[in-house]
Symmetry: C2
Subunit: 400 residues, 2 copies
Amino acid sequence: MSKQLKGNAVVGQSGGPTGVINQSLVGVIEEVCEQQCINELLGAVHGVRGIIAGDLVNLKLLSRRDLDDIARTPSAALGSTRDKPDEQYCHRIFEIFRDKNIRYFFYIGGNDSANTAHIINRLAQQAGYELKIFHIPKTIDNDLLVTDHCPGYGTAATFVAHAVIGDDLDNRALGGIKIDVVMGRHAGFLAASARLARRRPDDGPHLIYVPERSVSMENFVKDVAEAYQRRRRCLVVVSEGIIDTDGAAWAEKIQRDQELDEHGNVQLSGAGALAVFLTAKVKEQLPEVRLRADTFGYLQRSFPGLISPVDAYEARYCGRMAVYYAADAYSSGSVCFQRFGKGDRYRVETFVTTLASVATGTKTLPDEYINAAGNDINPDFYDYASPLVAALPEVGYIKR
Amino acid sequence: MSKQLKGNAVVGQSGGPTGVINQSLVGVIEEVCEQQCINELLGAVHGVRGIIAGDLVNLKLLSRRDLDDIARTPSAALGSTRDKPDEQYCHRIFEIFRDKNIRYFFYIGGNDSANTAHIINRLAQQAGYELKIFHIPKTIDNDLLVTDHCPGYGTAATFVAHAVIGDDLDNRALGGIKIDVVMGRHAGFLAASARLARRRPDDGPHLIYVPERSVSMENFVKDVAEAYQRRRRCLVVVSEGIIDTDGAAWAEKIQRDQELDEHGNVQLSGAGALAVFLTAKVKEQLPEVRLRADTFGYLQRSFPGLISPVDAYEARYCGRMAVYYAADAYSSGSVCFQRFGKGDRYRVETFVTTLASVATGTKTLPDEYINAAGNDINPDFYDYASPLVAALPEVGYIKR
């Protein structure tokens, strides 16, 4: 190993919370405590905003008990931010890093966070300042490039699968049509996780729509009517990001006047406008049928008590490995998972990819997982997703 | 014990499902198998509809394994119904009972189901036909008269408390105002259960609104703005049944044109219209603030994996006791809980009340649990609700 870079470190959390983002934070803290090259470890309160505001906490003071409590708590214990720093914002961060002899920066977040890390990394290189920067992936959407999957996804998928199992039992008891809107603006991974809820042939969801395939309202209503007529009941899972045949997101079409979030993205979650719209469309065709809709909303990303053990373990591992790589010869990068084995033999190893390779694009659900009609998920997806989620509850039935 | 009435039995499930309604069903099955006075036990598929349609299954054929699987499965394994039988409908049921030598009827449901049982009971008495009828309470709303609390409530309250703990962590991470709409058309028990999520003084929910107290939009927005300004964040829990100062439900006011359900009740859940409306009202006053809303919807009543052990035990006990009372000297009634002891010393015993006493009215959240301003729940409510819910997750914080 070459001579280690000595100095202080900053860690921050960014973007929408997940059930295991604090595992990654605790992984960073634990590994920093084992690496002698890092002196102080400062937690940036509300991510990059805390760096700018000087709102930093000394994380080496936390006790083992504190770390254990924080690790199993969903959402971002340091506070998060939706700030998406531009060149100038990153320059201010870099200046502060130089002032405080920050030599290590660990940023836990999605591709926007990787991009922030990438810009700061470039500024440091241009200034000839030695700074090691690592991005630690986190997203319930599972849409980061290069890595096999993202910490946070398995836990959100566990919630969605549980919710859909319960909702299918509810729909079975009372009949009619139920539409559930699941998070995922551009990638269908989370909506696809509802497929895990279908264990017997007549279990719901009977239809699943993801943003990777367009659907006209005409075909959507036709699919739902057919599925309903077959069983006198139907459970439909729809990604919030589903798109029309012209490529425009349905939710954006029906909410043009809604507020924009700080990144300029239309707020598809929460208000439930898409669910209301889809319900109304189906109602036009099937006015007599009992019809209900739910938007799972923010519960999907911070629900406590249903954390996937594999996801928790991997998120912690990812945080530790970021520090390990930084203390080793690597100067920057994003920590990725490579997967080995299937089912019980599933395991991951980490590797490092460049910040640039994660910073801008996003991954979508591979075509092989989507059925030909674009209204369901193929069974192969089970092999991909099931190792990542917690055990799903077995259910009992009475043969009627 | 007097000479036992010998014959067959019918059991059915009715109304909105809960997480433990199948525990009560299995309790009935188990106890029937121990009582020699009951020959066949027929399960009515989709409640009273199955009786009319002759859609009945022999429940004595279920194995121990089947019973265990069914008991821990949320939602109604026999199928449920929203049918609210009138005199004529009940007369048809009674005729079928007489044809099939049904001498015992166990109906698991809310007050509508108690009323159905009450009518059939009266018809049997008028005809001089010996029939033992028991209502087994079930409702997530916890709004049945006489009993201390209802099976189903503790599990729904467990879900709501978990969801609010997670959502408070999410709100803490990103700031702004979050509004969560919780089920409960006429009773605030389920919304009040969100109070269990507040363990530290600055934890949310910071405001809780229940249908037992009216609130003007002016005061609602004022409360929210003040709570937000104090912490730069605010989590608000609102019952779907909150009413305006003129006594009209807000959700009904804003959804007059929405479909009616089969009982003539406006559908407040699912569509999220109340959440959208409240968000818009707050936005008018605080246009710059990050503002989100969720409607917890149907997840509250059939979510698997978070069943309250006490609720599950009590639901089973209630089902068993209904059969026990029927096989004993009682001729009809509804099974009620009486509570003894607090905290760790909490326990219940059952007693029988008349069908009439449960059939029509509903219970509301006692005034003593609501604060003077009508925008929060008093700490005393903890003593009432906490023995009924599952253990809530402890969370860790970083002092900022």
